[in-house]
Amino acid sequence: MAYSDKVIDHAENPRNVGTLDKDDPSVGTGLVGAPACGDVMRLQIRVSGEGVIEDAKFKTFGCGSAIASSSLATEWLKGRTLEEAGSIRNTDIVKELNLPPVKIHCSVLAEDAIKSAIEDFRKKQSSRSGA
């Protein structure tokens, strides 16, 4: 199967690779997928007091399309509010990266990772305000 130029670009030069401190209250972490399924994404966001994503980092175990989907997601997340971030759909990623049908699950996983990171951040915030 041939990859699109955008997938190759992201896979060869992934943006925002790295790790944020998962114990930092301003950081939300999403870890989705399973090693047995061949892809795992960890996506992390750092959120400002105003609810804007200041930084996003990822690490992904998976094929080129999975790496590209998560790399693109981190690019899109930076500077967005949580609400805007939560409205990113996997179909947006499919379109941007020209993913073939067999790779659509990579984009679904990226959307799940975004949602899961936002949820983790919100959970942290509510447990802090509750305490």
């Binding site: 990859y3 190759i8 896979a11 060869e12 992934p14 690779v17 790790t19 870890l31 989705v32 997928g33 399973a34 090693p35 047995a36 399924c37 061949g38 892809d39 795992v40 994404m41 960890r42 690490k59 992904t60 175990f61 998976g62 094929c63 080129g64 999975a66 790496i67 067999v102 699950h105 679904v108 996983l109 799940d112």
Partner: protein, 408 residues
């Protein structure tokens, strides 16, 4: 010598045609284009003579008693189908039990599945983590209903070499027909139908530097004489076992490819072993957490290296080394999204199956290529491990098996 890209290291999938083979084939596309079945003129005679010569070359390489024991086909999938279905149909009154292994090629496994639907019973033997069939397991599986045992010479993914001579002797003793899909082992490890007691053997040209679209089924003619029901009806070519005008240029090339290997295979196998071991040593010297899939040593093809690069997904790695042609047991490389059934049969964890890469070296692989590929793979695996959340977690001491992963 300067490297040329891309670099091919997928010789288990197919091989380029050797220039010596191509040269032998060329006249049979143009001036000597006759139908080998045309008995009434010179065009036919020339073609028939060329096929006869190729039949001898193939028979000699396989250790067959007589050239008539070679039935030309379109390739090994057809040979496997003819062997299994042909024997099943012909010997149906004698019994309905077939024994094979879990790591056979799909041409065997899917044919067996079809035969099961038609009332045959098939035993699929385990191979253990070494990927080797136990002769005792074959012995224990044989019943008075068993008509056929089919075990491959060598596996196409992990390169493990099965105890063909021992199984051949056992089948002879028990009066059961023995078929072997010899596609992957041919020309890389010892194979002799006579010495090993093989009654039927599938082979193909395109894995031994011949053209695609031509293969053969060896069918023993004496002690025992093996009978088959033809699966393709028509003009009665190949003594009624396989109708259809012969692919004369292909067969001529197949014969030449066999002749070359008859002379050169031992030296070539030793050269390949040296290059393959060089590749393995270089990878293992610089990378940790590598796992060889399947037995290592004498029971493995000299050109095969199947290794799992833990924490790096196979297709991701293949993309990172896209100037190198290799293959992976990762799910992502197949339309089915299932990881390799061969690795599963060996008991390889799914996590590790997804990280496996198969390197297949061959006649035209050079030391420079091996060194280049080793360096490239090492660099890319390190880079992808830096990108892998699993590697980071493992290094932090997290047991990945303790995490409640969300399968999707």
């Amino acid at each position: 010598m300067a490297l040329k890209f891309p670099i091919y290291m997928d010789y288990h999938a197919t091989t380029p045609v050797d220039p010596r083979v191509l040269e032998t084939m060329l006249p049979f596309f143009t001036e000597n284009f006759g139908n080998a079945a045309s008995r009434s003129h010179r065009y036919g005679w020339v073609a028939e003579e060329a096929v006869g010569y190729a039949r001898e070359q193939v028979a000699t390489f396989l250790g067959a008693d007589r050239p008539e024991e070679i039935v030309f086909t379109s390739g090994a999938s057809e040979s496997d189908n003819l062997a299994l279905k042909g024997v099943a149909e012909f010997y149906r009154d004698k019994g309905n039990h077939i024994i094979t292994t879990k790591i056979e090629h799909k041409a065997i496994l899917d044919t067996c599945k079809r035969l099961e639907k038609e009332g045959f019973e098939v035993t699929y033997l385990d191979v253990g983590k070494e990927g080797l069939v136990s002769v005792d397991d074959v012995r224990a599986a044989i019943t008075d209903k068993t008509i056929l045992v089919s075990v491959m010479l060598a596996n196409n993914e992990v390169g493990t070499i099965q105890p063909i001579a021992e199984i051949g002797a056992l089948c002879k003793e028990r009066g059961v027909i023995f078929h072997s899909d010899a596609v992957q082992g041919l020309g890389k490890t010892e194979f002799d139908v006579k010495a090993m007691g093989v009654d039927l053997a599938s082979v193909t040209a395109h894995k031994i530097y011949g053209p695609k679209g031509v293969g053969a089924l060896y069918v023993r003619r004496s002690k025992p004489r093996v009978r088959l029901t033809a699966q393709i009806d028509g003009g009665g070519h190949e003594r009624g076992m396989r109708s259809g005008p012969l692919n004369v240029p292909g067969i001529v090339g197949f014969g030449k490819a066999c002749e070359i290997l008859t002379k050169e295979w031992r030296a070539e196998a030793e050269k390949l072993r040296g290059l393959r071991d060089r590749l393995k040593h270089k990878l293992f010297a610089e990378l940790d957490e590598l796992f060889i899939n399947g037995a290592w040593g004498d029971r493995r093809l000299p050109n095969n290296l199947n290794v799992s690069f833990a924490y790096v997904e196979g297709e991701g790695l293949m993309m990172a080394i896209k100037d190198v042609g290799v293959s992976s047991g990762s799910a992502c490389t197949s339309a089915s999204l299932e990881p390799s059934y061969v690795l599963r049969a060996l008991g390889v964890d799914e996590e590790l199956a997804h990280t496996s890469i198969r390197f297949g070296l061959g006649r035209f692989t050079t030391e420079e290529e091996v060194d280049y590929v080793a360096r490239l793979v090492i660099d890319k695996v390190k880079k992808l491990r830096d990108l892998s959340p699993l590697y980071e977690m493992a290094k932090e001491g997290v047991n990945l098996k303790d995490i409640a992963w969300t399968a999707h």
